[in-house]
């Protein structure tokens, strides 16, 4: 698997250059994370049911305000996966850290990227299923109408979920307990939500805050979704948002990898 080979006559072990990633371990890790999810049906029901319920509630609340749900429903389609995957990932990786399984994996021929890649793949797949189910209800039952292509809405929803996963992996390094991990939601995500342009358009923010909002990932996640609700085609601005999102996801995964320690202080 690692490619290390030992010559049986000389006993010399040859180790290949630092392996960057082992696809089999990434797949096995993703399969293991999904198996854990499969053994937890209540979480699956909540993963799929809660966003459907909330979008239905929102559609009902805004049913007497023409056009309002078309604007906000799509935003929620992107926001739910981000928040849910952030919480799930930070708690799941924290359990790996405190339960000793991460330390055990780090004593095995596992690259850090294998571990993170497995989580990203498993939760990326989960997010895709979630996005498809929630979008199906939101478009067909609750009557959401966006100008842009529906597939692009799905892509943004899945990217938002991956952003949540990457952020969750990252913050789990700074939490010692589930209590602390959950607190990173108000500490880290809510300020971004306030600054991302949903509460007040970014151009109306005081200059320092507008500058800050330009370097926050949620700004691009939400802007991409808003662009899709108002434009029939994928604009240059949307492409830029998507590119920035992908860069943030990869960036946080890489920084997250540096927080996986092989050694105990």
């Amino acid at each position: 698997m690692t490619g290390a080979t030992r010559d049986s006559t000389t006993g010399i072990t040859t180790i290949p250059p630092t392996p960057i990633s082992h696809p089999r371990i990434v797949l096995a890790t993703a399969g293991r994370v999904l198996a854990q999810l499969r053994h937890d049906p209540r979480t699956i029901v909540l993963l799929l049911g809660a966003p459907v319920m909330l979008n239905g509630l929102l559609a009902w609340i805004l049913s007497d305000t023409p056009g309002a749900f078309d604007q906000w429903g799509a935003v929620l389609l992107g926001l739910f996966p981000l928040i849910i995957m952030f919480l799930i990932t930070s708690v799941a990786t924290l359990r790996e850290r405190t339960g000793g399984t991460l330390e055990r994996l780090m004593t095995m021929p596992v690259a850090k990227v294998d571990f993170l890649g497995g989580y990203a793949l498993a939760f990326g797949l989960t997010a895709t299923v979630q996005a498809v189910v929630v979008s199906a209800f939101t478009f067909s039952v609750f009557g959401l109408d966006v100008k842009g292509p529906v597939w692009a809405v799905l892509v943004v929803a899945v990217l938002d979920a991956l952003l949540g996963t990457a952020l969750g992996l990252f913050v789990s390094a700074f939490a010692n307990s589930e209590f602390q991990a959950v607190q990173f939601f108000p500490a880290l995500l809510l300020p971004q939500l306030l600054l991302c342009g949903l509460i007040a358009p970014r151009s109306t923010l005081p200059a320092p805050l507008e500058a800050v909002s330009a370097v926050l990932p949620l700004t691009y996640a939400m802007n991409a979704m808003q662009q899709l609700t108002t434009h029939a085609t994928i604009t240059d601005e949307t492409w830029r948002d998507l590119a920035v999102l992908v860069a943030f996801i990869i960036g946080f995964l890489v920084v997250g990898a540096t927080t996986l320690r092989r050694r105990t202080p």
Binding site: T2, I12, T13, T18, A28, H39, D40, G100, T107
Partner: protein, 246 residues
């Protein structure tokens, strides 16, 4: 890498010289020097807080702030190549309790590079074949520990390092675990087993006695008893401490 390094049958399994470990500004291991010969069961005995787990982590290569020499199978502790040749069982069972026994083993069979065939072998070794389809969370404490041990056995390690593997087990299970350890040693595996129960010394080929980060003894059980003029290791332990303070 030199020619004499990495050979399975040469030199001690673990060779430690002037090993020191700092944790939080305190020296928790003070200049330890000892060898663990190949193919033996070596007991690392000492009360809790004596530094057993820190020493074990240093040998497995997951402890920070280690100075001195610590070689494992002829390589510096923590070397990448050792990750597939050393099995490590932590005190707390490090397995996924929301997966079945078999799901755990299948996953770790991939991460250790052992392959699926190893799963059946280790299930038999730790006598858990009947529980393979059960969620780990539903197992008893002893069974839970054995799942963790089975994971360490997957890769057929040359050195097996076990931190308090028999704690909380009933005498029958404890006996069957020691039988397994001796079978493994007979097959050429080196075992380093920590315990705070002095009785377990009788199961070991050699003993390392640790107290407050210092090595009190590094010899065979009979030699320790003869040297201290005692009849059991607990009394020998006290004899050495009393002798040192007098």
């Amino acid at each position: 890498m030199g020619l004499d390094q990495g050979r399975p049958d040469q030199g001690p399994a673990v060779s430690v010289a002037d090993l020191r470990v700092q944790r939080g500004g305190v020296e928790v291991l003070r200049s330890l020097s000892f060898d663990v010969p190949r193919g033996q069961v070596v007991g690392l005995l000492g009360p809790s807080g004596s530094g057993k787990s820190t020493l074990i982590r240093s040998i497995v290569g997951v402890q920070m702030h280690v100075t001195g020499r610590c070689e494992v199978l002829g390589l510096p502790a923590g070397s990448r190549e050792l990750r597939r040749r050393v099995g490590y069982v932590t005190q707390e069972p490090a397995v996924y309790d929301d997966l079945t026994v078999r799901e755990n083993l299948r996953y770790f069979a991939v991460t250790t590079g052992a392959g699926r065939r190893a799963v059946g072998r280790v299930l038999d070794q730790v006598d858990l074949r009947g529980q393979a389809a059960r969620l780990v969370r539903s197992l008893s404490g002893g069974q839970h520990n054995r799942v963790s041990l089975a994971v360490a056995l997957l890769a057929d390690p040359e050195l097996l390092v076990l931190d308090e593997p028999t704690v909380g087990l009933d005498p029958v299970l404890r006996r069957s675990l020691w039988r397994l350890f001796h079978d493994l040693a007979a097959a050429g595996v080196t075992l380093l087993v920590s315990s705070h129960v002095m009785d377990e010394a009788s199961e070991c080929d050699r003993l390392l006695l640790l107290r407050e980060g210092e090595l009190l003894a590094d010899e065979t059980g009979p030699s320790l008893l003869a040297r201290t003029g005692t009849t059991d290791v607990g009394a020998a332990f006290l004899q050495i401490i009393d002798g040192a303070s007098r």
